[in-house]
Amino acid sequence: MKRIGVRLAYFVRTAWRGLRASPVTSAVAVMTIGISLVLVGAFALLLQNMESLLDKLGGELHVTAYLEDGLTQGQQQEIAHLIGTVEGVESVSLITKEEAFERFRRGVGRGSALLEGLADNPLPASIEIALVASRRSASGMAMVVASLDGLDGIDDLASGQDWVEGYMRAVALLRGLGVGLGAILALATLLIVANTIRLAVFARRDELEILSLVGASHSFMQTPFLLEGILQGALGGGVALLLLFALFRVVLPGFEFGLELVLGGVSPRFFALGESLALVATGAGLGLFGSAAAVTGGWRT
């Protein structure tokens, strides 16, 4: 028991001394991890916020059911209620003829002057049908359309398939790019960090040689280096977190207006506590991995 305490104290002391003895080398490792994680983290932030934007856009996806002319308000509401019970439908909202005209006028904008010449409102009432998340795809939509088709009182069903197609592709592109670039970035980070620590350990091979000669076991030699790696990694993660937060708080507000254009009204969100800790833990993991890779390079005499 006492031996373990002595040993632990030795490991921590040695790791600490290692950090202090080569401050430049350690700083390089911490900085490398920090910078790498800033890139990865910024990317994660972007993806995360993009996902909420995509969610929001997805919420605007809907099927429109144009109703036959001449139905009473009660009948229209009955149909709306009925549609609301169909599987895959999240919510419905009824658009009367008048509302439809008003929307159209606004949508046309400057050209609306010419609508004033119209005697009659030719637009039909309609029901906008929002879909549950799992049905927000061309095929999911087609299923909903199929199950509504032929319903009494419905004149026509429009699902804006084109738009859906485009939307789905954009989502796939962005998610794909996100995951792809994220993976490349993560791999690059891993390589750079492992190699930085490898070099740092390499610069201290004398120490390892001598320890081995005086009878240190492998674990005895490696543990302080692993601790050092973990510490450097965690520090790097912390640095990255601070930098990201600073960027988020100081830099972004300057672009608020532009951001609104890009994010389309989704207000940007920073990492929650759990995600922040995950970033630091990722740093620690990188450090551990890097030093483990560096240290298991075989150093018998």
Binding site: K2, R3, V6, R7, A9, Y10, T14, A21, D206, E207, E209, I210, L211, S212, L213, V214, G215, A216, S217, H218, F220, R300, T301
Partner: protein, 235 residues
Amino acid sequence: MDERRDAAVRLFHVSKSYDAGSFALRDVSLEFARGEFVFLTGPSGAGKTTLLKLLFAAEQPSEGQIVVLGRNIARLGESAIPPLRRRIGVVFQDFKLLQSRTVEENVAMALAVVGTPRREARAKVFSILKQLGLQHRRYHHPLSLSGGEQQRVAIARALVNEPEILLADEPTGNLDPDLTVDIMDLIASTAIRGTTVVVATHELGIVGRYGKRTIRLDQGRITEDKKAVGVASGM
């Protein structure tokens, strides 16, 4: 030498070849008793350092068997080497001190490895440095020491752990004659206390002075094995 019957070191027909065709050691058979003091002499390149390296498993023999402290070196697994080394103190020909650590820390490395608590370690380090006349240098770094001072630090590190075997490669090559005698006396005294001591040296003057068993190597072969003069084993 009397109580413990088993030998500290036994070599059976050991050969060592680094490069195919040339032998650094050739068919060497030897036995060192516990507490014995042995000089290893011979010209440059005779194989003295190689023999010492085999004893603490820094090299593997090409042929033959080596038993050190009851363990067969040639059959030792990776993980069995460190525990064996902790029982052996080595003074290296090139010192192998860590430039980035103080003298005290360099010596303490040998204690940290066996898990000696820090306070105890400091006391032990101070005591051995004092015996070697280096206590005032304990916070210095090796680079700021003279050659002889560095050599004594290397000796201190080998001795601090009270090893069962002490291997010293040219331990007085950088010491002046007076210091040489002091240090050799210290080393000899560890043999009296039961440590098996093997000293490789060129200085025939010292070898003569102590009248100990002397093994002469030449081109990897034992050319002479002169028994100790008299009975006493350490004075």
